[in-house]
Amino acid sequence: MESKLLVVDDEVFVRELLAEYFTKLNYQVRTARSAAEALQQMGMESFHVALIDLRMPDGGGIDVLRAVRKTAADLSIIIMTGYPTVDSAIEAMRAGAYDYVVKPFRLKELDNIVTKAVAAQRHRAEINQLRERVTELEARFANLKRRENREGVEVGPRRFTIIEKAVEGEPFQIEQPALTGPQRHRIREVARQDPSLYEEAVASRREFRDKAVSLLEESS
């Protein structure tokens, strides 16, 4: 898949150099001349990585970083600067920058950093999806528990399908009415004949959760 890169710098030379270089490397590159333009671009489409100059006339890269951190949680932002200081490096990293690179840089080195930043973006996106899925699952379980209390054991097999499908990776497409009568009947049959399947489903949910948690822990 083609990676999308946004280059933000008020210097035309830097924009053109980076756009040309990364286009050759098969990136899909967009450029912006200012913080405002960068925000506008990011509002219109999503990117994997953004290279943003630390200081531009209408605002700094760190301001852009803070502004988009909430809306683009996965995006890897690399701050570039010709005037590096320890304080601004700390500020950038603390605000959630993926890296802080000093100009002039070697293009090959920047390429290495951007490659890693793309991988980090994908990793974060996967984690965020898993996190959402776990939250979704927890909510469903809470709901089911309430229903189970109200309606008795009948919900058990249904819980099984929900878990199974969630583990298969389609937790958002399993609204209950989608199941036909015969399907429901079949699921109940299975659950009745083989209670261990039910246990297995619960276990696979744990496994799924564990995977999510371990991915979360691996990150950062």
């Binding site: 320890v86 490096a89 700390i90 990293m93 603390r94 890296d99 802080y100 000093v102």
Partner: protein, 138 residues
């Protein structure tokens, strides 16, 4: 108010002594290590430090490698790094390892204290939240 527990890691005796006396006067429980290797051993025995304060440039394993090693077993233990040789590279690397702060030596001891206090408080907050989670969890 609970007593905060701090681990001080620095290969310079003078710094260790200075910080030891200072944090003692603030009612901290303090342990010190003169190397990352020693610090790792201490952390293995006592895993309940509220904050770890470590120098970066030390003989043997340096402070940044120490933070990385520490992160494997203590993912969220707050660490503050100190250095007399600040650089953009070490600052970026330290922050990426999720240190709480990067302090340049010579430091103002009051400022260092306020950073340590803030880090320790955050740690207490996390611990309490974790306890709640454990109690409420399945």
């Amino acid at each position: 108010m609970d007593t905060h527990k701090i681990l001080i890691v620095d290969d310079e005796l003078l710094i260790r002594d200075l910080l030891y006396d200072y944090f003692l006067s603030k009612d901290y429980f303090i342990m010190t290590a003169s190397s990352a290797e020693e610090a790792m051993e201490i952390v293995e025995q006592h895993d309940d430090f509220d904050v770890v304060l470590t120098d970066i440039k030390m003989g043997g394993i340096d402070g940044l490698q120490f933070v990385e090693d520490l992160r494997r077993s203590h993912r969220n233990m707050p660490v503050i790094v100190m250095t007399a040789f600040p650089s953009v590279e070490t600052a970026v690397e330290a922050l990426r390892k999720r240190v709480y702060d990067y302090i340049v030596k010579p430091f103002n001891i009051n400022r260092l204290y306020s950073v340590v206090e803030a880090a320790a408080k955050e740690c207490h907050h996390d611990k309490k939240a974790h306890e709640r989670e454990v109690v409420n969890g399945e």
